[in-house]
């Protein structure tokens, strides 16, 4: 998978949110995004995922223009901001509901994914009873369960303890080895430096620095 952003920009009510973003992202690599709150990281992820349309320029996924040729990248896993699920369903029930939309995976794979992120698939507790860390893990499970070609993770280590963080970072590396294109936003510079092949620094909606490793 190759994603190209060509002069991509976004204005909302005359405010420039993203400005003249140019980049090329390839599968099997991790792209890190850093910057202060409100610099445009999440907006850029929305643009790449197809949740938001650019007001100028374009996002091209495998030579198909997003919003014109396709609406969303076909095999995408996404954790944007806070995870959100149906409160009266268990973790398994929530994932089954989402997986049912594409039917790429069976129940066993859902169970495996939950174990992989450190959740018990036989846990009968409803989502509303989950701790913040468990909610975050379920969000990550939803993003990776279908073995996506494009994995977008916005602050995936939020609310996690040190052990869980190590486990999730390990999963991200495994996903990279599998060949996924990973877009990762994180406040923790140390995590990005250790994981990312390329780090983009955003400021006021513009890329002000690119660091290749």
């Amino acid at each position: 998978m190759v994603i190209r952003l060509e002069k991509a920009g976004k204005k909302i009510r005359n405010n420039i949110i993203l400005d003249n973003i140019n980049m090329e992202l390839r599968n099997g690599r991790i792209y890190g995004f850093q910057g202060i709150n409100g610099c445009g990281k999440t907006m850029l992820m929305r643009l790449i995922s197809g949740l938001m349309k650019p007001t100028s320029g374009s996002v091209i996924v495998d030579e198909k223009i997003l919003g014109k040729d396709i609406d969303f990248p076909e095999k995408m896993g996404l954790l944007l901001e806070n995870p959100a699920f149906l409160e009266h369903y268990t973790g398994v029930q929530n994932l089954k509901l989402l997986a049912g939309l594409k039917e790429y995976i069976d129940e066993e794979q859902i169970y495996r994914t939950l174990r992989r992120v450190g959740l018990n698939p036989n846990d009968k507790r409803k989502y509303k009873k989950y701790s913040l860390g468990m909610k975050q893990k379920l969000g990550i499970a939803a993003a990776i369960m279908e073995q996506p070609e494009l994995l977008i993770l916005d602050e995936p280590t939020n609310a996690l303890d040190q052990r869980s963080i190590a486990s999730i970072l390990n999963i991200i590396m495994e996903e990279k080895k599998r060949g996924a294109l990973i877009v990762l936003a994180c406040h923790d510079g140390y995590i990005l430096e250790n994981l990312a092949d390329e780090i983009f620094t955003l400021e006021n909606g513009r890329i002000v620095n690119t660091l290749k490793r």
Partner: protein, 257 residues
Amino acid sequence: MKGYRLLTSDIRAAMQKQKFFLIAGVIFALQWISGYLEICSDPVGIKSNLEFSLGEMFLYCFQGIDPLLDTDGAVVLRLPIGWLSVFLEAHFSVIGYAENFTLYGQQYFFRSGNRSWWWISKCIWNVSTTVLYFALGFTVYGLLTFFRGGSLKLEKMEGFLLLIILVCISWNLFQMYISMYVGTFIGILISIVTLLSSVFIYSPLLPGNYLMYLRTEKFMGNGMKTVNGYYIVSLLTVIAIVGGILKSRHLDYLVEE
């Protein structure tokens, strides 16, 4: 196949949110019936001489109120509380769509793979829910009439019942459509205000007027024409579906919780 999967997932997700409204609908139906039975069993009641039948029960439920004008043409302040509750409940029964405009709905949005399909699926779900709401209410009415030995004849109500279901379907679709612009709370508020306005303003442009049997051409002669009701239904449905598709094509999913 993809559209079918999207729709079934939509229904499963939304049912969790709206089952309480639907249960409340059944309770409303039971309340109506008890009220009707009270009148029927009252030896000096206005309907005590009428045959106990499903058609009469529907008439009791959906009669509404005649145009609220006194002899001088001034509006009289009276509210058909029971009638209002049935249709407010109908508007609330589809409120599960609010889930689609949240962070959770975001997961559905991109997994749908297609923005137009996403909206069409919401519309089909919305229509199914409204039909289910009336089906539940009507089934309760039918069963109680049957077990009480009443007649199941609908008599003059057949065409009218179809029209009220269609008016509610189209308005609920329209409510969901405008909620994309103004949010769920304002969307339902507009429905409430429109329904209330229909009570006081006798106009063919206000859909609530088609939901009151006492204002139909069948009852009043110069009352609301059924054909105009179908025009309103068609217009609202087309605006909601086509407008929704166009809006969803350009929708930025920016919700934050």
